[in-house]
């Protein structure tokens, strides 16, 4: 028994550490963060406006646009690629899947630092000046490094704001305004505000052109098997679903993602099942489980094979959410639903 508790405690601790690191009361956080980035003389963009912002409770001060960025997880990598900043990436880590085709060429040359969360030394070896992470937990002492410690070394850090866990920072609920705000913020940090505005504009246009479906309910299954880890009411999954015009059967659950019980799913009998395709829990695995389970195979959606498929990287807040929402709506229509 002690070993199980140690393990559970360890896991919880590993998740809690970044929270502690991010708390404003962290004594090691300097009141004014050191100015990061290379010396002003090396600016590549004329007229760069220094940026000061509060990112998940940690002050970030950027004096010059970062030139050597390490990205952790897919959404930061894709964000930078969308902003045309691919050459500034010196290493990518913990990617969730392949990048979309339009950026495949740019992404091909990106050095892969690690398949999982990299360690501090591996990151420092690349001599970065900025680390852009998709999850708060990536920037912990046993991950890429504690944010304050990296800042002292002159390395700026930034976590995707939608991934902040703390009250007041976690978007509740996540909206596309939050997503687009991140694009603008990143643009400001990297000294490419006009490009960011362009990207945001085109995303807004694409968003407006989505025709929502009607009368369709959905269950969003991200991972887990016996106890599915499902999209709750306030995160990216719900945003995507509601943008596509669908009703999330877990819309009342006040979490971004939550472990659900299959019985509740069967009771709700959703019209479609959104199955996230991740390398650790594939679309095929999910379908196979559904169809071979004596209870779940009775679901209307399973009997009629009404599955919607989304790649994992597009399901966390980032530049692919609009495309994901559009894809969902389209797939639903292809299934003959939604009007």
């Amino acid at each position: 028994m002690p070993n199980r508790r140690v393990l559970a405690g360890f896991t919880l601790l590993a998740l809690a550490v970044p929270l502690a690191a991010c708390s404003a009361a962290d004594p090691r956080a300097t009141p004014t963060a050191p100015v990061v980035g290379p010396a002003p003389a090396a600016t590549t963009t004329a007229g760069f406006q220094p940026v000061t912002l509060d990112n998940c409770g940690v002050p970030v001060d950027v004096g010059a646009p970062p030139e050597r960025v390490v990205t952790i997880k897919s959404t930061p990598t894709e964000m930078l690629l969308a902003l045309g900043l691919g050459e500034r990436i010196v290493g990518v880590a913990y990617q969730d899947g392949p990048v979309p085709d339009e950026w495949a060429a740019d992404a091909a040359g990106l050095p892969v630092l690690s398949d999982r969360v990299p360690g501090q030394e591996a990151v420092l070896e690349l001599a970065p000046d900025f680390v852009y992470a998709g999850w708060e937990s990536n920037l912990s002492a046993d991950g890429a490094g504690d944010r304050a410690v990296l800042a002292e070394r002159g390395i700026g850090t930034y976590v995707s704001p939608s991934a902040c866990q703390e009250d007041g920072y976690q978007p509740d609920p996540l909206t596309f305004d939050d997503v687009f705000a991140e694009i603008e913020e990143v643009g400001a940090i990297f000294g490419v505000p006009e490009r960011a505005s362009e990207v945001a504009e085109s995303q807004r246009a694409a968003l407006d052109s989505i025709e929502p479906v009607t009368g369709v309910s959905a269950f969003w299954w991200s991972s887990g098997t016996d106890t599915p880890y499902a999209g709750g009411g306030i995160g990216a999954p719900n945003l995507i679903l509601s943008t596509a015009g669908m009703t999330n059967i877990l819309a009342d659950v006040h979490e971004t993602w939550a472990p659900a019980g299959w019985e509740a799913v069967i009771a709700a009998d959703p019209s479609v099942l959104v199955l996230v395709d991740a390398s650790w829990n594939t679309f095929e695995h999910k379908v196979e489980y559904l169809e071979s389970n004596p209870a779940l195979s009775q679901l209307t959606a399973v009997q009629n094979q009404r599955y919607v498929r989304l790649p994992f990287a597009s399901t966390e807040a980032g530049v692919r959410n609009v495309e994901a929402a559009a894809s969902v709506a389209q797939q639903v229509r292809e299934l003959g639903l939604g009007g």
Partner: protein, 392 residues
């Protein structure tokens, strides 16, 4: 002549002679008057006075009857409870229909919920709870350690390692097999570490089990942190904490089968376990082979626990607590303790699992969390109650 002597012993034992009794007066107290039956004038008795208790414990038939009725009631009630709002009549109709009785048609999905989700789940919970409680009681007696539980021999750690490995390799379908294999390998490692020239002492068994547990836990942690991608750690965590969410009719078969087989063996060996109360030498003097008994029973417990863990993950506290909760009513005699503990464990786990799947509807907790939350305060209460007991 020996027979005469033996008869004389029985003769002496058989007579309730005040004279004989008075001749062996209480050691440390003033001798009572010879003619009267000796009264407990133990002025030097320790601080706690004799605990007031009923002269006899409840008879076994009563305990088993009450326990059985409670379990049946629990099963019936909990199968009607769940996130899906199903009427009780509908639930009963669904079950009746599957059992071959003529019953009105039940909507396909509701029927699936009752027959494929809830019923296998409560039955598995009952079997796992019963098995863990009985295994815990046996381990506590074999190691003469009130803190023993079924996982003492490194079983749950070994099973966790097997489970983590297949879960992370994406071979989830092999989970029960891998978990069982892991448990058995851990047992073999523990027993070979613990044996000294063929004999298996309780202390060495406990220590060896600890060593194997720590090793397997470290390996499991390594596997998780090395290979876990995305949020797949949640699946393993759920298993490590124990979860009945994936229970199917084959889980029921495995769990019930394992408990039935183990129960059958324990029926024959329960009496032998009693002899261990005063240690190995006393057990041998009472006609029990302590070494062989310990080997056989530990292996039995390991196989039972391995089977249970393979369907439910490592659910804690049940094996540790239920024997202690039950023994004030049954006494330490294993032929009473084991069946009542099994029934109590079954009832406990079914309720714990029901809480786990309904309290945060539509979300679900791993049942191991609920048993821990229930278990810790109960343990504290038990400790407070047994002021005079041998744990001091």
């Amino acid at each position: 002549m020996a027979r005469d002597a033996a008869e004389r012993v029985r003769g002496v034992v058989g007579h309730d002679e005040p004279a004989a009794a008075a001749a062996v007066a209480t050691g440390d107290a003033p001798s009572p008057a010879p003619a009267s039956p000796p009264e407990p004038a133990s002025s030097t008795a320790p601080a706690s006075p004799p605990r007031p208790r009923a002269a006899r414990r409840p008879p076994l038939g009563l305990l088993v009857g009450v326990g059985g009725a409670l379990l049946l009631a629990t099963l019936v009630v909990t199968v009607t409870v769940g996130p899906a709002d199903l009427a009780v009549t509908e639930v009963l109709r669904s079950i009746a229909g599957h059992l071959g009785f003529r019953a009105a048609e039940v909507p396909r999905l509701d029927d699936a919920i009752v027959w494929e989700l809830r019923l296998p789940r409560v039955l598995t919970a009952a079997a796992v709870g019963a098995g863990l409680a009985a295994a815990g009681a046996v381990m506590q007696s074999l190691t003469r350690n009130p803190l023993a539980d079924p996982y003492l021999l490194g079983l749950s750690s070994g099973a966790s390692l097997g489970a983590a490995a297949v879960l992370l390799l994406g071979l989830g379908v092999l989970l029960p097999v891998a978990a069982f294999a892991g448990a058995v390998l851990a047992l073999l490692a523990t027993l070979s570490l613990a044996r000294t020239g063929g004999s298996l002492t309780p202390t060495r068994a406990v220590l060896a089990g600890l060593a194997v547990s720590q090793l397997a836990a470290a390996a499991t942690s390594f596997v998780i942190f090395w290979t876990a991608k995305g949020d797949s750690y949640r699946e393993i965590l759920s298993w490590l904490l124990g979860s009945l969410a994936g229970a199917t009719w084959s889980s029921v078969a495995i769990a019930v089968g394992a408990v039935a087989v183990a129960g059958l063996v324990l029926v024959f060996w329960a009496g032998r376990l009693d002899a261990f109360a005063f240690g190995d030498t006393a057990a041998a003097a009472l006609g029990v082979d302590p070494n062989r008994t310990r080997w056989l029973l530990m292996t039995l417990v390991a196989l039972l626990t391995g089977a249970l863990v393979s369907v439910s993950g490592s659910i804690g506290f049940v094996g540790l607590l239920v024997p202690h909760a039950v023994s004030p009513f049954t006494g330490p005699a294993h032929r009473r303790l084991l069946p009542v503990a099994a029934l109590a464990g079954a009832v406990l786990l079914v309720w714990a699992d029901t809480l786990a799947r309904t309290v945060f509807d539509p979300r679900e907790l791993p049942v191991g969390i609920v048993t821990a939350m229930l278990g810790a305060p109960v343990f504290a209460w038990l400790l407070r109650r047994s002021r005079g007991a041998s744990w001091s």
